[in-house]
């Protein structure tokens, strides 16, 4: 997997598209802690104005409570982006299926791939990691437990980072799979970062570290020190393919 390095492309200017090309029309909603009134509505308009919006229409002001007003606003954003300048790292995952993956492990690695996964910290949302690891899998795609050439260990919910690393060592794991669902007050960020720090200290950073969850993307995972990040809708076979691909590439040249 390699992050595509930024390179020159012809500029491609884009704006928001509402009713017509480039009109910049967008929708906002927010609540202000004041009773509904003409003044409140004007405050909503100025709120949008302070964000630099033009042609502001306060489409509704609703009484959300005695001292709360809810607003829906439409306005024009004078924002223009050069789309060609936007480059984001994306995981490169080969499109392999169940059979192909097992075949490759057998042929090219010659032993079972060991993965250990958990939903860490105080997070108890196991559905995501279960979808990747458990037999049943996700959306008709079998989980890693079902792969004869994988040994998959699912430690479940609320697993401590230290315990997770210890278990990885014990099992001689190739990859550590971390699931983070709770994002309130940036819980996921802190907790995921801590794991990587601990791994560095314990000399385990050479293992493959994968991070997944509904608010995770490859970009964020990389920033947090992981090898790869997987977001909503990830299928087990993608994860397996990614791991096998990297393991094969990482083998010493001689073995290949």
């Amino acid at each position: 997997m390699s992050d595509v390095p930024p390179h020159k492309r012809p500029p491609e200017l884009i704006r928001a598209y509402g009713d017509r090309k480039d009109d910049g029309r967008i929708q906002l909603s927010f609540t202000l802690p004041v009773a509904t009134s003409g003044r409140a509505k004007e405050a909503a308009r100025r709120f949008a104005e302070t964000l630099g919006l033009k042609n502001i229409l306060v489409a509704t002001m609703e009484k959300a409570g005695t001292n709360f007003s809810f607003f829906v606003v439409y306005a024009n954003a004078d924002v223009q982006l050069d789309y060609s300048a936007i480059v984001v790292p994306e995981v490169t995952v080969p499109e392999w299926g169940f059979k192909e993956i097992n075949h490759l492990v057998h042929e090219q690695i010659g032993r079972k791939v060991v993965v250990v996964g958990a939903c860490t910290g105080s997070d108890a949302h196991t559905v995501g990691i279960d979808a990747i690891l458990n037999m049943k899998g996700y959306a008709g795609d079998k989980g890693l437990e079902a792969y004869p050439w994988f040994d998959a260990y699912n430690l479940g919910a609320q697993v401590d980072n230290v315990a997770l690393l210890a278990r990885a060592r014990e099992l001689n794991a190739d990859a550590v799979l971390v699931s983070q669902i709770m994002t309130q007050r940036d819980l996921h960020i802190e907790n995921s970062q801590q794991l990587i720090e601990l791994a560095r200290k314990s000399g385990q950073r050479d293992l493959l570290f994968l991070l997944g969850g509904p608010r995770i993307d490859h970009k964020l995972a990389r920033e947090l020190g992981y090898d790869a990040g997987f977001g909503p809708g990830t299928k087990p076979s993608q994860v397996a393919s990614y791991i096998v691909d990297v393991l094969i590439k990482r083998r010493p040249q001689a073995e290949r």
Binding site: D19, K21, A59, E62, V72
Partner: protein, 517 residues
């Protein structure tokens, strides 16, 4: 669908009354023609183009013979004579009529037989053009197939036909079955059809032949990609009803908003004028295989949807009767009604269900067009989106055919691209989640839904009896529909109505009437 227990005798009586009511008007229609009918005849003969001021040639022609008092013979009469006199084709003949140094006074020249003979090949060509368009539509539709009903109908209204085409494509990609391009505000009041592609409009885009073509091209292209036939709609009601019907027909439109009542009540168009226009336009539409959408739904934007529900039903019976007289089969009558009851009323949904089910049952083969809440929407887009969700549910549960999707921004602006996307995605969820709901429900015969349906039908019968007694023109004049009063001699366009002379010639109409009497 399990039918509501309503009396078929009442339905039959309503239908008989409507036939009678339309019969009275039909006598007037048969004795008159209008400037727009005559312009349509010219267009059918292939007359095209506009002068430097944008005035279409067909207008110049017809206005000249109207002023000269010759329109009672039909413009074809004069066109035929010009042809017989040596014009190379109808276009040239029309130019002679429009700009020739003299107005033909009929004193010398071709006889009736001669002029008819001169027209004959062009008459055949005109009908062939209609038939070719119809056949092409049918072939595409058969080859690609359409989505399941309710069909998802969305509007685009950017004012710029190229943006419209882009938005139409995006809507189709998101799942829309039908795209309607809304007309620029008040186009219905201008007595000519603008020319060419247009990029500026207000609250809509000008209906022009070129604009029809541009959108159809986009859809033709897109439907191949999507493997699903895409339907196009535009608006014909207004002072140019027959002309737009004709242009829509040759450009393969699938549906046309087409309703004299709409023009009368909501645009203050003269009742005589637009009822004549409607007849001719529907003859064209019948031949072209287009579905019409009358505008009864609009009644409930001015009148109260609870109190006036029966006026919608009564008007639908009348509209059906008019459509039958114009040779339209039931399958082309997309009668309209709407989910317009005040959302704050208890059990409003029950009343909406009653009405939707009633309409479905009374008009079983008709591709009923079901319109969303508009008047009682609010700037609270979340709330509005939820209202549209229940609307969609009633749509699928009562098996409506064509569903104009509600927009969460209805009370704010004509839909943004994202509003349409949300509406389509929302409807897909509801239609799929409730796919067979209509098979499941048997309405409690002692319940509120059944009682409401019966009441509305009864009230419609009472109204139809009254209208039958007083006559259609008088009923419209006293505000029987939509709480709006329109006298027979008031409104726009009466000057364009002309009594047919005994010599009246209109080979196009004659051919169309031969289809189905």
């Amino acid at each position: 669908m399990h039918p509501l227990p309503i009396e078929t005798a009442v339905v039959d009586e309503c239908r008989a009354l409507a036939a009678d009511i339309s019969g009275g008007v039909q006598r007037f229609i048969d004795a008159h023609t209008t400037v727009s009918i005559e312009r349509t005849v010219l267009r059918a003969y292939g007359v095209d183009g506009a002068d430097a001021d944008g005035v279409p040639l067909v207008n110049t022609c017809v206005d000249r013979y109207l002023a000269a008092g010759g329109l009672g013979h039909g413009i074809a009469w004069w066109l035929g004579r010009a042809l017989a006199r040596g014009a190379a084709n109808p276009q040239e003949a029309a130019e002679v009529l429009a700009y020739g140094s003299e107005v033909d006074d009929g004193s010398v020249g071709a006889t009736r037989e001669e002029l008819l003979a001169a027209l004959a090949p062009y008459t055949d060509a005109a009908l062939e053009r209609l038939d070719r368009a119809r056949d092409k539509r049918l072939a595409d539709r058969t080859r690609l197939g359409t989505g399941p009903t309710p069909w998802k109908y969305v509007i685009v209204a950017t004012g710029n036909i190229y943006d419209d085409a882009d938005q139409a494509r995006a809507a189709a990609q998101a799942g829309a079955d039908i795209i309607a391009v809304i007309r620029s505000t008040a186009q219905s009041l201008i007595d000519y059809v603008p020319y060419g592609a247009t990029t500026e409009g207000f609250g809509g885009t000008w209906a022009t032949q070129e604009n029809f073509k541009i959108v159809r091209q986009a859809l033709d292209d897109e439907q191949e990609r999507l493997g699903r036939y895409l339907m196009q709609v535009n608006y014909s009601s207004g002072l140019c009803m027959p002309e737009i019907a004709y242009l829509g027909a040759v450009e393969r439109l699938d549906m046309l908003l087409n309703d004299a009542m709409y023009g009368i009540l909501f645009r203050d168009i003269n009742p005589r004028r637009t009822l004549c226009d409607q007849y001719f336009s529907r003859r064209v539409i019948a031949r072209a295989g287009i579905i019409i959408n009358p505008g009864e739904d609009n009644y409930l934007t001015t009148a109260d949807a609870v109190d006036s529900a029966h006026t919608v039903i009564a008007s639908q019976f009348i509209n059906e009767a008019f459509a039958k007289r114009a040779g339209l089969p039931d399958e082309q009558m997309g009668l309209g009604h709407a989910f317009e009851i005040d959302k704050s009323i208890e059990d409003s949904l029950l009343m909406e269900i009653a009405q939707a089910q009633l309409v479905r049952q009374i008009f079983p083969r008709h591709p009923i067009k079901w319109m969303p809440a508009t008047k009682h929407k609010s700037g609270d887009i979340f709330w509005s989106h939820r209202v549209d969700g229940l609307y969609d549910l009633v749509g699928v549960a009562t098996e409506q055919s064509i569903e104009l999707l509600g927009m969460m921004t209805e009370s704010i602006h004509t839909p943004l691209l994202q509003d349409r996307f949300a509406a389509i995605k929302g409807a897909d969820y509801v239609f799929n989640a409730a796919r067979h709901l209509s098979d499941e429900i048997i309405w409690n015969p002692e319940g509120r839904v059944v009682a409401r349906a019966r009441q509305v039908l009864d009230e419609a019968r009472v109204l139809l009896r009254e209208v039958q007694k007083e006559g259609m023109f008088s009923a419209i004049a006293r505000g029987a529909f939509a709480d709006v009063k329109r006298p027979e001699n008031g409104g726009r366009g009466l000057g364009g109505v002309v009594e047919k002379s005994t010599a009246y010639v209109n080979p196009i109409l004659q051919a169309l009437e031969a289809d189905h009497v």
